[in-house]
Amino acid sequence: MNHLPLIIKREYLNKVRNKSFIVMTFLSPMIMIALIAVVAYLSQMNNDKQRTISILDETGVVASEFETSEFTTYSIIDNMPLKGAKELVKAKNDFGLLFIKKSSDSMNVVESVNFYSDDSPSLSIISGLERKIEKRLSDVKLQKAGVDIAQILASKTQVNIAQETFEGEKTSKVDSYLKLAFGGAAGYLLFMFIIIYGNMIMRSVIEEKTSRIIEIIISSVKPIQLMMGKIIGTSLAGVTQFVIWIILGGVLLSVVSAIFGIDVMQMQTPQQELINQAMANSDAQNMAQELITGFVNLPILNLCVAFLFFFIGGYLLYSSLYAAIGAAVDNETDTQQFMMPIIMPLVLAVYVGVFTVIEDPHGTVSTVFSFIPFTSPVVMLMRIPFGVPVWQQLLSFGILLCTFIFTVWFAAKIYRVGILMYGKKPTYKELFKWLRY
């Protein structure tokens, strides 16, 4: 008798109808969006603040570099002793006073630079001031050394290397960023999915144990059926939640940005920053063109198929372990000792993905980790946009599949024994013994 569909249906409905699940599903995108809106709003407010910085320049050459901008007004104080300038700035209620002291050595021009203020200035204000002074001083020094600055400016050259594979496929830097974004998103999604819904499976197994219904159920169905039903049912609930999050998040995001006029997309993530830097090096139209070709160049079909297989494989591998842990313990606090060995390879996979795959997608480390079954789903998903030979993908998936079958067997053994064990906090040694029961 196959009860699997029945169990899946119950698990799914039970999860989806759960009040806290519903609240989480609809509330968390709202909270996220609200958070983004608040942050965006606050950072705008911060930038809006007008500042006046007074400059007392003894050298007379640096002050000209400071041009009043939208948020910062520079007022130049002439011929005044430092003490008098300080009092003046205080009286005017300016943000601060920049004091540039003249050097007696004509080659060095400036002896020291000080900034006086009531509130200590932020790092970005100070580094902005430093950059301006440094630029001006090097210009002055170059001039003194008899170098023509116009020539230096004219000699600056910009290079864009056009990349192409031997087969004639064109790639570009934008491509790489795009690949990175896709691979990273896929790997990270899997990581999040495993953590959130793996835990949910574990809790639901524990709940079955604590409510003591387990023996009634397994006098009707095989434990492995119950376990697989739980894993699949919970996963489907997870997919439902994820899809709602994405749709709701998208809708809310556009609503919020329309209402508040905040261009939320401008909020920069590190990856976007990379893209923006790449953009800065080429003109915008060219950029859009490259983005589109880059997107078309992505191995979309391969990406989708691999995503499906590695996502499911990796998720099932980990969730069967979560189910086994849930079966082995009596309550959630006892799960801690078993969580480490699960979380470690996952975190390792994400680190390898983020640090190594970006650096060298086909290097030894990346390749090896994309074969080890506990890290392969995440690492392989991050590598695939850069083009991984099909045999490697198949081999890696084959290893994953074998490990998955072994893990399910292993988890089912522990599950079968564990669900009927009460009151004992098992050790690893005991779990090993259960395998022989």
């Binding site: 169990i7 039970n14 397994i218 169905v221 029961y437």
Partner: protein, 308 residues
């Protein structure tokens, strides 16, 4: 074939611990079979093996003459001692789910549940969540779910725990009725008075071994000690008591009687009959009370466990 269930030399170990050692039982059709034993004796392991929850290391279980197969779960209804329900699920929905797992269709399950809910007068619980029910109420649902698919073999592990006397007797009557309708019942409990009331046949498992097996009446016959409870009236009670004590083994006895007479248990030698005792007594005293002492299930249990 008169036996519904036969266990042949079943053994099971968990690591170094031997939970069942070569245990065989035969449960005849339409009987109520009491599976007794102290805590940790191995009863639950045997029941789980019958339910195919655990597999035996050696030995086999025959149901209706053929070895147990996965599809046999339909033929068995099991009410475990450790039992519960999904707390957040609604009663009706949950009962239907559990019945479907036993192979009923949704409609069948609904119809039969309606019958049982009406019979036990609990129709208004259908849409309640289990966590709103009391323990006894939840036990009723569990009982219904156990018998709903009309299994040939019913296994009850401590079915009365958590019930008040009224509901316990209600459930007891239901069990008897199911037996009369043809079901065979295996009944595991520590409450010896319900063993007396219900069981036709008992087996006692102690420290993984079966130490006693047979019809309850046969077992009682086997355990009787040829002892008689007597109430006598005599003009000289002290001398008579002294005389009896010289002739037989005597134990004190308590029972209700109108007269303030001699009350004692007299144990006869193995070959002596009750008539011998009567003959001896009639000449010396007036006999008001004369009953053979039949060992209770409780006595048998304690005696067997202590002697092993």
């Amino acid at each position: 074939m008169n036996n519904l269930l036969v266990a042949n030399a079943v053994s099971k170990s968990f690591g170094d611990f031997k939970a069942l050692n070569d245990v065989s039982i035969e449960v005849s059709k339409g009987s109520i079979f009491g599976l007794l034993g102290p805590n940790g004796a191995g009863k639950t392991t045997l029941i789980r093996i019958i339910n195919q929850i655990t597999m035996p290391d050696s030995g086999e279980i025959l149901l209706d003459g053929s070895p147990l197969k996965p599809h046999n779960i339909r033929d068995i209804g099991y009410l475990p001692e450790e039992r519960g329900l999904y707390k957040t699920m609604r009663v009706g929905e949950q009962a239907i789910y559990l019945a479907q797992l036993k192979g009923l269709t949704k409609q069948e399950a609904k119809d039969r549940l309606k019958y049982w809910f009406d019979k036990l007068d609990i129709g208004d619980w259908w849409n309640k969540k289990v966590q709103e029910l009391s323990k006894g109420q939840a036990q009723k649902i569990q009982f219904i779910v156990t018998v709903l698919h009309r299994p040939k073999l019913l296994i009850f592990d401590e079915p009365f725990s958590g019930f008040d006397p009224i509901n316990a007797s209600l459930i007891k009557d239901e069990i008897l009725q199911l037996r009369d309708e043809g079901a065979t019942v295996i009944f595991s409990t520590h409450r010896m008075e319900s063993v007396e009331e219900l069981c036709d046949h008992i087996a006692l498992i102690h420290k993984s071994n079966k130490v006693l097996d047979g019809k309850l009446t046969d077992v009682k016959r086997q355990f009787k000690t040829n002892t008689f409870e007597v109430g006598l009236q005599s003009a000289h009670p002290e001398t008579l008591t002294q005389l009896i004590k010289e002739q037989f083994e005597v134990f004190p006895a308590t029972f209700k009687n109108l007269n303030d007479d001699i009350k004692m248990n007299i144990k006869l030698p193995q070959n002596a009959s009750s008539n011998d005792l009567l003959r001896f007594l009639t000449s010396k005293a007036e006999i008001h009370h004369f009953v053979e002492v039949i060992p209770s299930a409780n006595d048998i249990f304690i005696q067997t466990v202590k002697n092993n």
